[in-house]
């Protein structure tokens, strides 16, 4: 967990501290005057349903963030995560509709997203494409292709509705106040926690993970040690596709439909995933926590809208999470990114 705190400790600690302070202040105020505005606000913040919503909203972001971590740690900056989420959200519904099985749809989505990531990898690693622009292209292609497909197949930018993943409820535990939400959630939420664990272990404990980090920090060192840098980077980028695919599918199956006009239902989650892992300092656990911060604010925001706590118009309330990210970033400042991130590596170059 300390990994989360190095890099820009001052900033991160500051943010964490401020968050904690605000929380405590709210709590105290709530005890003093449970019926006051703050009191009720606190009630909202610590309600199980807020936690549940936070988890739901976190799922696609966390998956994409973990994928992004692998790609970038290996030296390939993948800002196409948004596109990977979009393509997998659509193919998930299409697949489920075609096969009649959610989990097959899930598989289809993962395959599609991994394939798109593969294209990205070939373009970047084989043809030394500019990673940022290629990533942008991945986003734009998906942004066009998914609604295009939906139009062709369903006659509109929105697909038909399929089933949703529903929720898995752990008896007893789910009745615990607040934390009960952790045990009464969609399978996607459990998958998310699994992914965080697997991601962390792979990155920090396995040979592959070590090679990934070396490929991003000093590819030449890895190369001269006799490991094929391109292979490692291919694997890492494909992984980013796989994880993002799970994220996109989970997103689509949370409401059982893909909606494709404007920025589509993904609506910037892929970019927020980048914020998440930068703020999380490339640590899957860190990414999970920073996502929770963002998603939590979003959940609170959605709840505030329905209460009569304050006079603010909904449009302005909806800005809270975005403004929060900006403020957080202003405190955290820059993150140390892998030395060779973004740079093409050609074996045998002096």
């Amino acid at each position: 967990m300390t990994d989360l705190l190095d890099g820009r400790p001052s900033g991160r600690l500051l943010v964490a501290g401020v968050a904690a302070l605000v929380f405590v202040a709210l709590g105290v105020a709530a005890l003093v005057a449970p019926e006051s505005q703050v009191g009720r606000l606190f009630g909202i913040v610590v309600s199980a349903s807020t936690l549940a919503a936070t988890l739901r909203l976190s799922v696609p972001i966390v998956f994409a963030a973990i994928g992004g971590i692998f790609a970038e740690k290996s030296g390939v900056i993948n800002i196409g995560l948004e596109g990977l989420l979009i393509i997998s959200a659509f193919t998930a519904v299409f697949g489920a509709d075609l096969t009649g099985s959610l989990w097959l749809g899930y598989l289809v989505a993962v395959v599609a997203s991994t394939a798109l990531a593969g294209l990205f990898a070939v373009v970047c690693i084989e043809f030394r494409a500019d990673q940022i622009i290629a990533g942008l292209a991945v986003w734009l292609i998906a942004l066009g292709l998914a609604p295009f497909g939906s139009q062709v197949i369903y006659g509109g930018p929105n697909t038909k509705s399929v089933d949703t993943l529903g929720t898995v409820t752990v008896p007893v535990l789910s009745d615990v106040p607040f934390f009960g939400a952790l045990f009464d959630a969609s399978p996607a939420v459990y998958l998310m926690f699994l992914a965080v664990a697997v991601g962390w272990y792979t990155l920090n404990r396995t040979t592959f993970g070590r090679w990934v980090r070396a490929a991003g920090e000093n590819p030449k060192a890895l190369d001269t040690a006799g490991v094929d840098v391109s292979r490692v980077r291919y694997a890492a980028v494909l992984l980013s596709g796989t994880f993002s695919g799970m994220g996109g599918a989970s997103l689509a199956f949370s409401i059982g439909q893909f909606t494709g006009n404007g920025p589509t239902m993904v609506n910037g989650k892929g970019f927020i995933a980048i914020v998440a892992y930068l703020f999380g300092n490339y640590n899957p656990v860190g990414a999970l926590l920073s996502t929770a911060l963002f998603a939590g604010l979003d959940a609170v925001q959605l709840r505030l809208q329905t209460t009569d706590l304050y006079a603010l118009p909904d449009s302005l309330v909806q800005t809270i999470p975005f403004v929060a990210v900006i403020v957080v970033l202003a405190f955290v400042g820059k993150t140390r990114l892998p030395e060779a991130a973004g740079e093409h590596y050609e074996s045998g170059e002096e």
């Binding site: 549940a52 509109g156 409401i255 006009n261 404007g262």
Partner: protein
């Protein structure tokens, strides 16, 4: 996107839908059923376009108006956002017949169709107000009985959607003064995820029936209803049919017969009776709006509630109940 039909068609119609596109299971799809019905009954031909942004409206309207091959006898503009563009184009293309839904464009070649959504919303509001105070269960949902609040989820905060909210709230208050309405505007007609979160938080804070006027955003509301084991009320079409996977939580739908507006305008064109400059208001009286009970749950709604709704309907038509169009006017 093109429709088809031959050149022997009785008339040719161009459809410009609202942004949000087909497949929203409500507004646009409802308009489409109207034109499809017209194609079958009146053997007309039509083409349709789905704009991606408001600045496309003008262009697409113009394209139909300019086109000489084929020549369009009528251009249907679905949605109030098209009003401004149409006001301009109507005068520019004075020999082209247009119709617009949900807004009034004052031009001799435009037929305007507006709906009294507040009237229909009043009836479903009344139903919601009654059922939330009695303990009632059907299909996958049930009401707490002691609960005293219901919810409304709007798409984009605008005068039109506020008419739904106003009517609904008025209906609820009419049923019982001490039932509150939680409202939320998620800021889009195609944001099911946001709709879902908004509805869930309403259910969590005691609401057991949520009414939406939010196009495809409503899908999320139904989803939330199913997860919470509560009820929802659909809009624009009988959504217990169009979104049948949710028919076990959809008590009723405030159907808005956009299809009728489209159909009758086309019919008028075919019979050379098209009234440019006319404003047709479709309320309960004209069956332009109506409260349609869900195909699965409709049967379970207590008869006395149904009766009360139909009396209210008559009173509204008779003008004995006046339904506000602005939430702030709800007493």
């Amino acid at each position: 996107i093109g429709g088809g039909g031959g050149s022997d068609a009785a008339a040719r119609v161009g459809m410009v839908y609202a942004t949000g596109g087909l497949g929203d299971g409500s507004f646009n799809d409802q308009a489409q059923t109207g034109i499809v019905r017209a194609e079958e009954d009146l053997s007309i031909a039509y083409d349709e376009s789905q704009p991606e942004s408001t600045s496309d409206f003008g262009t697409l309207q113009q394209q139909y108006a300019q086109s000489s091959d084929p020549d369009y006898d009528l251009v249907c503009c679905i949605g109030f956002l098209q009003a401004d563009a149409l006001t301009e184009n109507a005068s520019q293309y004075s020999d082209q017949q247009f119709m617009i839904v949900d807004s009034v464009v004052d031009a001799s070649n435009v037929g305007s169709y507006v709906f009294a959504e507040h009237e229909g919303s009043f009836l479903v509001g009344l139903m919601a107000g009654r059922l939330t105070t009695t303990s009632f269960s059907a299909g996958a949902g049930s009401t707490a009985g002691d609960s005293t609040n219901v919810g409304f989820v709007g798409g984009v905060e605008s005068d039109l959607i506020k008419k739904f909210e106003a009517g609904f709230t008025a209906g609820v208050k009419y049923a019982s003064d001490d039932v509150d309405v939680q409202t939320a505007y998620v800021g889009g007609f195609n944001k099911p995820a946001a709709g879902q979160e908004a509805a869930i938080s309403m259910y969590d804070s005691g609401a057991d029936i949520v009414y939406h006027a939010a196009g495809n955003t409503g899908t999320g509301v139904f989803q939330a209803a199913q997860e919470a084991g509560r009820f929802a009320i659909g809009v624009d079409r009988d959504q217990s049919v169009t979104k049948s996977s949710y028919s076990d939580v959809i008590l009723a739908s405030m159907v808005k017969r956009v299809d009728n507006a489209v159909y009758s305008s086309v019919e008028d064109v075919v019979n050379d009776e098209f009234q440019g400059g006319s404003v047709t208001t479709l309320g309960l009286e004209q069956n332009g709006v109506e409260a349609v009970f869900g195909q699965d749950l409709g049967g379970d709604v207590p008869q006395e509630v149904k009766d009360e709704m139909s009396t209210a309907r008559d009173d509204i038509i008779a003008g004995e109940i006046s339904v506000p169009t602005d939430p702030n006017q709800v007493s």
